[in-house]
């Protein structure tokens, strides 16, 4: 019995090392397999059905818990001359456009967003898909209030947020929420971070803030909001990262 232990242990160790590398290779092949992909993305619907139900509020924190620095992530700030000019000029030229399936397409300057809508503040935790978290205080009107001012049509089911930042290939960032998520009381169009205007690195002049989902849903540099009947087709998978394979429902 004892004599065969050593070769057996070595055999098992080799088997383990090989198995691990094998697992990785098999998994890589499966990841690229169309049928298996459908299985891989299947749980998202289940997660949305369970976690997306109800209207629970993200936890709110006290001022003393605010992180010293709100970490920047994602693309570089927009480099367009237009954006640069607005930034130098205290965003006076900037207007948020709202269109698509609405009765009255409108646009609002930052001043109008501040004066015409109820301004709310929330101190919430921002959870990045990468794994880190920071706490910040966001101020601005509710997405719901701004959309309501334009009279959304009954067939509008999704709200798409078009952004001014682009990746290395020039593809712009965008995100989307369904009408229900957009109506969440904590879904804000934030012009303030930690009692100051949103800094350029964090999405100036206006950023979506959705604290019940991962950070990539909270699109920065929002310039245009479009109400649509469905995602897919020309509307992509509903977001820049969604088009790279990330979940549209980013509650996990």
């Amino acid at each position: 019995m004892k004599s065969i232990l050593v070769p057996r242990a070595r055999f098992l160790m080799l088997l383990a090392a090989g198995a691990l590398t094998g697992c990785s290779s098999i998994a890589d092949a499966l990841t690229d397999n169309a049928a298996f992909r459908r299985l891989l993305i299947a749980p998202e619907r289940l997660d949305l059905a369970i976690l997306g139900s109800g209207e629970p509020l993200a936890r709110e924190y006290s001022e003393s818990e605010i992180s010293p620095d709100f970490r920047q992530n994602g693309f570089d700030p927009p480099s367009s001359p237009e954006y640069q000019t607005w930034a130098r000029d205290d965003w006076r030229g900037y207007r948020l456009q709202i269109g698509g399936l609405v009765r009255v397409p409108r646009s609002f300057s930052l001043l109008e967003l501040r004066s015409r809508f109820l301004s709310l503040s929330q101190i919430t935790r921002h959870d990045c898909v990468e794994g880190w978290s920071v706490i910040g205080k966001w101020t601005g009107p509710r997405v719901a209030d701004v959309i309501a001012a334009c009279g959304p049509l009954p067939q509008a089911k999704y709200v798409v947020f078009h952004c001014m930042d682009v990746d290395q290939n020039g593809t712009p960032y965008y995100e989307s929420l369904d009408i229900r998520q957009a109506a969440h009381p904590q879904a804000l169009l934030a012009y303030g971070l930690n009692d100051r205007p949103v800094p350029v690195k964090n999405g100036a002049p206006l950023r979506l803030k959705v604290p019940t989902q991962l950070g990539y849903k909270s699109a920065k540099y929002v310039s245009r909001i479009e109400l649509v009947a469905s995602l897919g087709g020309k509307n992509g998978n509903g977001g820049y990262w969604e088009d790279q394979g990330y979940e549209w429902y980013a509650g996990i």
Partner: protein, 272 residues
């Protein structure tokens, strides 16, 4: 555990076989095994996206409890991989921190390509794998828990620990009894009723949507980032168990043990 089934005479020797594991347990055992492998490997892929752990709710970037990173050696200009625990750094180049990129080269990566799913850096698909198998693992864990409840160690098991530990000093001499020995009971019971719930709850605590539904859950573990430490520690516990488990299976009659988890039948030595 009280094995069912009739004894049978093997090869005319005084050996007895018992039906040790019912079908549902045998199936879920292997599905759970597969799930743990996939969850650990895809979890390492996810960890690689931000390879640092913090003992707080939000991240305190300057003070990670554990970080696995790469840096340039100022003398040689060569990249160095390291594991940082508190203030201490352990050089781990080519294994952790700076390691296989899963595409034939090396890159700054906490866990190497051969240990992650997918092998190359891909957070999106790593998450998809992780969440699919989290469901499979969770559902199997429930089936498993229903059966493993009978492993709850009794007072007599606890009393027998010293004697059983002594037996394990010579692992290949640990006798094959019909029922699990006290150490097995405690280990399996702890795994099913402590480590598995811990890994599931701490995983859920990382979700912002779960947090919105149940603020108490991340708070229970010291906050979201702290829950990530527990989640990581539970993964290490599974790996430690896996190594010990496979070693004991191999040392105490490999084929007999393996058969008992495939056909259910386990050969018993002498009296039970």
């Amino acid at each position: 555990m009280r094995p069912k089934g009739a004894s049978r005479r093997m090869h005319g020797e005084m050996k007895r076989s018992v039906y040790r594991h019912p079908l549902a347990v045998r199936i879920t055992h292997w599905v759970v095994f597969l799930s743990i492998v996939v969850l650990a490997m895809s979890g390492m892929q996810i960890f690689n996206a931000h390879p640092a752990l913090y003992a707080s709710d939000a991240s305190v970037f300057r003070r990670p409890v554990l970080a696995i990173n790469a840096a340039l050696d100022p003398r040689t200009g060569q990249p160095v991989g390291y594991v940082q625990i508190g203030e201490h750094r352990i050089v781990t180049t080519h294994v952790l921190g700076y390691a296989s990129d899963g595409l034939g080269g090396e890159a700054p990566r906490a866990f190497p390509g051969w240990a992650t799913i997918p092998g190359y850096q891909d957070l999106a698909d790593g998450r998809r794998w992780h969440f699919l198998f989290a469901w499979i693992f969770g559902l199997c864990a429930i089936v498993y828990a229903g059966w493993a409840f009978q492993l709850l160690p009794k007072a007599s098991d606890l009393k027998a620990i010293p004697a059983t530990l002594k037996q394990h000093l010579v692992p290949w001499r640990v006798p094959a009894h019909a029922s699990y020995n006290p150490l097995q009971k405690i280990t399996y019971f702890g795994l099913v009723f402590v480590v598995a719930p811990l890994v599931i709850l701490t995983g859920l605590a990382l979700s912002p949507a779960v947090d919105a539904h149940a603020h108490w859950l991340p708070a229970l573990f010291g906050g979201r980032q702290f829950a990530r430490i527990w989640h990581f520690a539970a993964m290490l516990a599974f790996i430690a168990f896996f190594i010990a488990h496979v070693a004991m299976v191999a040392l105490t009659g490999f084929w007999n043990n393996l058969r008992s988890m495939i056909t259910g039948w386990f050969d018993v030595e002498g009296r039970t």
